[in-house]
Amino acid sequence: MTSAQIEVLLQTLISGILLGGLYALIGLGMTLIMGVMKIINLAHGELMMVAMYIAYWMFVLFHVDPYLSVFIAAPVMFFLGVMIQKFLINPVLRVESILPENQVILTVGIGMVLSNLATMFFTSDYRSTPVGYATDALYLSDYWKSSPIELSLSVPWSVSFVFAVIITIALWFFLSKTDTGKSIRATAQDPEAALLMGVNIKLMRVITFGLGSGLVGAAGCLLLPIYYLFPALGGQFTLIAFVITILGRLGSAMGAIIGGLVLGVFESLTATYIGMGWAPVGRFVMFIACLVFLPGGVASLLRKKRFGA
């Protein structure tokens, strides 16, 4: 390989990892809800779209930086998620339904309502958020004069990635170190045993849906400075979250993180070496390959290692 080719490869990997960090955050929310509720939340991307509009209008009207909006949009989305679980999903769970998948269909409906409301209120225009640092970048040659290759690092992408990592670590801390976090994991693993331990599993389900929505809301804010915004953007991200959740194995947090990174890198490689428009194709090739060759997801590999088998 010539140095130019190495340069392209490394640059591709870097942007893939940066993208993957955001994907992981989007996937984590869905995987958390999947783990506790055993339902796929197909309104996940639409919830992110709502958070992005919140951050967008905060920026346009009040000049609040999208990164600061994380602290506004995520709590708002948490609240919205809690309301959705409490007043829409819980009543459906209680009914003896014809289809056991009723809740999933309900989430599809919620997604449609959200994206159509957004179209009504905000029109279907594509918007981008004119933050001042949108095109800022760091160059390797500025720091290492005699570097044989040149690499660049986009400032907003990097800041978003760092935010995503911090949020992920905070989530890990919450889930593994606090009693509430442990109770959420216990509810996912064995709801009846959790009940016997004194866990209010209905409350845990409500909190989890809020948490999953809050996470994807935060991801939306992080995506805003580097992406454009339109009401129908949700569907695409619901699919991305779904692919990550399957890649990682349903309900596994570590699996979602690895799944997100793998998907980010894979899409980035597809975009560089095959063509920009082929990235979604790469995503689904990966999805199908995963279902065929690794149905247990990344987590099944992790497990083998942990069990020493």
Binding site: K182, Q189, D190, A193, A194, L196, M197, G198
Partner: protein, 234 residues
């Protein structure tokens, strides 16, 4: 301490428990024995609020609990070691023990109780950072009992604690139950291992197809003709 008055329990249209009454007094070890499908586990599940009685009352220390939310009972001092252990298999032993002590006094005493549990089961201390699903069957049962003790229960109920364990471990589990009782915890135990549980129990109830057919002291039932032919095969 625990009083059950005439409960009926059904799964859908199938009635499993008919007009069952029994009592556990403070400081006792009481055994509930019977064949597979007699309704023993159903009884424990009903006491713990996982199932609802269609009729009758359950009183714990004089308070009616048959309508209480299941998650509130452990805070009252009523704890169940469920059948097949039901550990949180993707959590560590430590985390499983933490899960046993989520409420009030149990939470404040968590570290102290944990040391006591490790005193009872030194093996658990060695394995405390291990994922519960990777423990052996006996170790899992120890972890499940430990988790039950973490709530500082007044009444600890065991559902088939000896199920699937080697004979030497079964004896160990019954020794532990004896120790738990000596520490002042009342015990209600459901078992298919009739001989061991009758030997350990002060009193016992015999359940057949959802009805109470016999009761008495452990010793009396051990020498009872019906129990000997039906359950001990002698």
């Amino acid at each position: 301490m625990l009083e059950i008055r005439g409960i009926d329990v059904s799964y859908g249209d199938t009635q499993v428990i008919r007009d069952l009454s029994l009592e556990v007094r403070k400081g006792e070890v009481v055994a509930l024995i019977g064949a597979n499908g007699a309704g023993k586990s159903t009884t424990l599940k009903t006491i713990s609020g996982l199932l609802r009685a269609r009729k009758g009352e359950i009183l714990f220390e004089g308070t009616p609990v048959h309508k209480a939310e299941a998650y509130k009972l452990i805070g009252m001092g009523l704890s169940l070691c469920p059948e097949a252990r039901r550990l949180f298999v993707e959590m560590t032993v430590d985390e499983n023990l933490d899960m046993g002590s989520l409420k009030g006094e149990a939470k404040r005493q968590r570290q102290r109780t944990k040391e006591a549990v490790f005193g009872l089961f030194p093996r658990l201390k060695e394995r405390r950072r291990q994922i519960a699903g990777t423990l052996s069957g006996g170790e899992q049962q120890m972890a499940a009992i430990g988790r039950g003790l973490m709530s500082l229960p007044k009444l600890l109920m065991f559902d088939e604690p000896s199920l699937g364990l080697a004979p030497i471990l079964v004896r160990e589990i019954f020794d532990i139950i004896k120790k738990i009782r000596e520490d002042g915890t009342t015990v209600l135990i459901v078992e298919q291992n009739v001989k061991q549980s009758l030997a350990a129990a002060d009193r016992a109830y015999v359940l057949e197809t959802g009805r109470l057919v016999m009761q008495g002291t452990g010793e009396a039932l051990l020498s009872n003709e019906h129990v000997r032919t039906a359950y001990l095969g002698v």
